[in-house]
Amino acid sequence: MNAPARSGVLGRAAAASVALVLGVATATGIFVAKIARSYANPNNPNSGTGLTEPDDGGGFNGFGQVSQQQDQQPAGRSHGS
């Protein structure tokens, strides 16, 4: 591959990489915004699906609050123990 052809290919590769970086940054922003919006809607059944399973030993309840019951327990202990 001669020098002009090589620089052309490298230019295309660099442009594609920059486009990928911008695309991923935009996608990440959209994902975070969608997740935040779903949490802002208490009617959304998915908004409460955080780390709240009975066997998870407490944690984030999906609304940005730790419940009182969970708060009283040492982190990592299950509700039954």
Binding site: R12, S17, L20, V21, F31, K34, G64
Partner: protein
């Protein structure tokens, strides 16, 4: 910055990492196809490396924000030590093991020039780098089992799209390799595959790995 921003960022970065690693895996499958033009191969391999580096960066953001977020109750031990998390320990362990192995594959990828200098080294390198497919599958599994947004329609669409993208790229690669194998075991002309007879004398592939 609200109290939940770390939590939202952790989850957004996790989903974005899955998307980016899917692009990296697909580009890796397509980037070394012997049928594509050299220029296209260079662009796709650049994209493969950029996407892989971005994916690892997003995993670092995903893990560090989860560790820093006191409300998630995962903690450094839960995130870094497999099966130490109290929340879905197996699902989280799949994620942490995937991250560690991904670092190994990335390090091997960086050392490609040295490792693949000989045919035996190239075979070994290719085998080790193929671990990326398994790691991508483990990342999908981690997202499906541990992800708290997995029930949302757009997340299901995202995961489905990622799976289809990699399956399509993997299928193209497998079909091309099969065709290539069929050509090389087919009728030969003076001990060389017919397809290689058109290669100009003295012109050989520059790299053992293609």
């Amino acid at each position: 910055m609200t109290a939940n921003d770390l939590w939202f960022t952790a989850r957004g970065a996790g989903l974005s990492a899955l998307l980016t690693l899917s692009v990296a895996t697909a580009c890796g499958a397509l980037g070394s196809l012997p049928t594509s033009a050299p220029g296209t191969r260079v662009v796709v391999q650049y994209l493969h490396r950029t996407a892989a580096a971005l994916g690892i960066g997003l995993i670092v953001v995903h893990v560090s924000t989860i560790v820093l977020d006191s409300k998630s109750h995962i903690g450094a031990a839960g995130a870094l030590v497999p099966f130490a998390a109290h929340y879905r320990p197996s699902a989280v362990a799949i994620g942490s093991c995937t991250a560690y192995l991904l670092l190994v594959v990335a390090a091997l990828g960086l050392a490609r020039g040295r490792l693949a200098a000989s045919p035996a080294g190239a075979r070994l390198w290719r085998l080790a780098h193929s671990l990326g497919y398994l790691l991508w599958a483990m990342a999908v599994l981690h997202g499906m089992l541990a992800g708290t947004d997995r029930g949302q329609g757009w997340v299901v669409l995202l995961i489905t799209g990622c799976v289809l993208l990699v399956l399509a790229a993997g299928s193209v690669r497998l079909l091309t390799l099969e065709e290539q194998a069929a050509e090389s075991t087919g009728p030969r002309l003076a001990g060389r595959p017919i397809g290689s007879a058109s290669r100009p004398a003295g012109r050989q592939p520059r790299n053992v790995l293609r």
